[in-house]
Amino acid sequence: MSQPKTLFEKVWEQHVVAEPKGEPTLIYIDLQLVHEVTSPQAFEGLRLTGRKVRRPDRTIATVDHNVPTTIDGRLHIVDQIAATQIATLRKNCAEFNVELYDVDSREQGIVHVIGPELGITKPGMTIVCGDSHTSTHGAFGALAFGIGTSEVEHVLATQTLPQSKPRTFRISVEGKLPMGVTAKDIILAIIGQIGTDGATGCVIEYAGSAIRELSMEGRMTVCNMSIEAGARAGMIAPDETTFAYLKGRRFAPRGAAWERAVEEWRKLPTDAGATFDRELTIDATTLVPYVSWGTSPGMVAPITAKVPDPAATQNEQERKGLERALEYMALKPGTPLEEIAIDRVFIGSCTNGRIEDLRAAAKIAAGHKVSSHVHAMVVPGSQQVKAQAEQEGLDVIFKDAGFDWREPGCSMCLGMNPDILAPGERCASTSNRNFEGRQGRGGRTHLVSPEMAAAAAIAGHFVDIRNWEVLEEVTA
């Protein structure tokens, strides 16, 4: 019997191209996802050095970050700099023979939504993208991580990356999640506990019964925010849930090749007795719905809690950080989170813009009306998610309740398109970052689950979803 290995170690070892002495390991990259924002300078680099894209068949591109989310807006992009960036991607993909899912494609969407739904993302792969939320794909048992533009160019040219081997960190979430507590709450709880630099230099493996019970959408939500805990990547062992999700998808293997693939993928989960550099166990039964109150994803608290008092913090630098965050967020210590009124709601993003997220939000919204002082928008993660939601009638539920139903893209998660907060506006958002100005200069972001966001839209302030009255049954 060989040495027991972790999921991460198995994937890593299958991708080692070279291990030059005294240098980082050269690992092979099975798939690179490309979008308009972090790629223009990389393609330009290839042109300047006369290099080609080594493996166009292992590269796909889409437009997501700065595409407008209204039909008119997409037909005539007013922002000329954004339009140029999109046109540049189009030109680069044509020149370098890379498949592009363009604005008008039925497959267009946020890179981290379309990779899985097209069956391009698969267990055991190495996946990179010039986007820190690439960790999403780890939900399939892939090693997936975000890179900078120089590295994008490196992968385009060589299909490899020099990488120092990260440390391993297993977080086991054991037990049954209480009603109203979601995958988003699991990851917010983890970041709140270990901090935004709690997993720096590590690849996290999420394990335990609560993780195994999650759908693929839920697992993607958890892995997506690994970066918010500082991790290089997050991974979850592939299992029957993974295979059931992948089977029959456009780029999934078929027939005998499918059987062969599943056989290989079944070898990936961490062996009994394998060791991690760090371990943490979380009791799922103690988790609650969370809301972020500050300007860093680690600044979260249970919905039943109050805005913390910086004066209670001993460390001076930490206290200054808290004071600054509360000043930016215009919050007073001791305010119950449930009393915080909101102006905007954003349901979408690579964290929570998938079909299951929209179903969950629709279930809360059905039969209710969005508060008169709130503007709430739902932005599906992809064209396929949008089509599926419309087939299920979710768009009608949202529109009847007064939500704005939009076209797919990253939208107000980072506000690179026209969807931004006005200065001082407060938003309940299903996205992943509550940094200062993230959703628009002076905007104030509170991170929550899709259910909590939908409920906040209706109530006009945060509410404990566990006490929510579901008015109408929604059947898919």
Binding site: T84, S132, T160, G201, G415
Partner: protein, 203 residues
């Protein structure tokens, strides 16, 4: 990439923790397709009021630190988005070294690829440098990559760790792709075999 040997420069204190890359270069500047010209937008929202007036008490606007090439900051510097534009903006503004207790992973890698040396010192050491840079007019530091030291010529001296290969690349100003292509034969052989693993095919 410009080689980095030894740098002596004014040190600018940015007394904040968890400085994320969204702050270093806000979203609206990521739409450009160039690699240069980001320096004017570095810490844009902290430097300028919404009306376009300079924020007087923000350190980048403080004439005492004009020309500083060394930035001192709190822990977890560079967290968040993978945007290399953050490193481009720092470099374009003139910074060649950042000193902090810890750095986020992706930023760490991006900085290295743009010739920026990131020196990790202890929280206590950083606090001392921060305080001196805030209170001593013309406070100057010398960062030597060769000896992996930070000194101020007035008794402060600290060493920092650097991965030997990263150090070599920074000292020589080497391009990564060229280095990788030394392994072209191994890559070709690996790829031929790896392509047989159909379950790892993208499409």
């Amino acid at each position: 990439m410009e080689p980095f040997k030894t740098l002596t420069s004014l040190a600018m204190p940015l007394d904040r923790t968890n400085v994320d890359t969204d702050q270093m270069i806000p979203k609206q500047f990521l739409k450009r397709i160039e690699r240069t010209g980001y320096g004017d937008f570095l810490f844009f929202d902290w430097r300028q009021t919404p009306e376009g007036e300079p924020v007087k008490d923000f350190v980048l606007n403080d004439p005492r630190y004009e020309g500083a090439q060394i930035l001192i900051a709190g822990k977890n510097f560079g967290c968040g988005s993978s945007r290399e534009h953050a490193a481009w903006a720092l470099s374009d503004f003139g910074f060649r070294c950042v000193i902090a207790p810890t750095f986020a992973d992706i930023f760490f890698s991006n900085a290295g690829k743009n010739g920026i040396v990131l020196a990790r010192l202890s929280e206590e050491q950083v606090a001392e440098l921060m305080q001196k840079a805030q209170t001593t007019p013309g406070y100057t530091l010398t960062v030597s990559l060769e000896s992996q030291t930070v000194t101020d010529g007035h008794g402060f001296s600290a060493t920092f760790d650097v991965d030997p290969f990263r150090k070599f690349c920074l000292l020589e100003g080497l391009d990564d792709i060229g280095l990788t292509l030394r392994h072209a034969a191994e890559l070709d052989a690996f790829e031929r075999e790896h392509d047989e693993a159909l379950w790892l095919k993208a499409k």
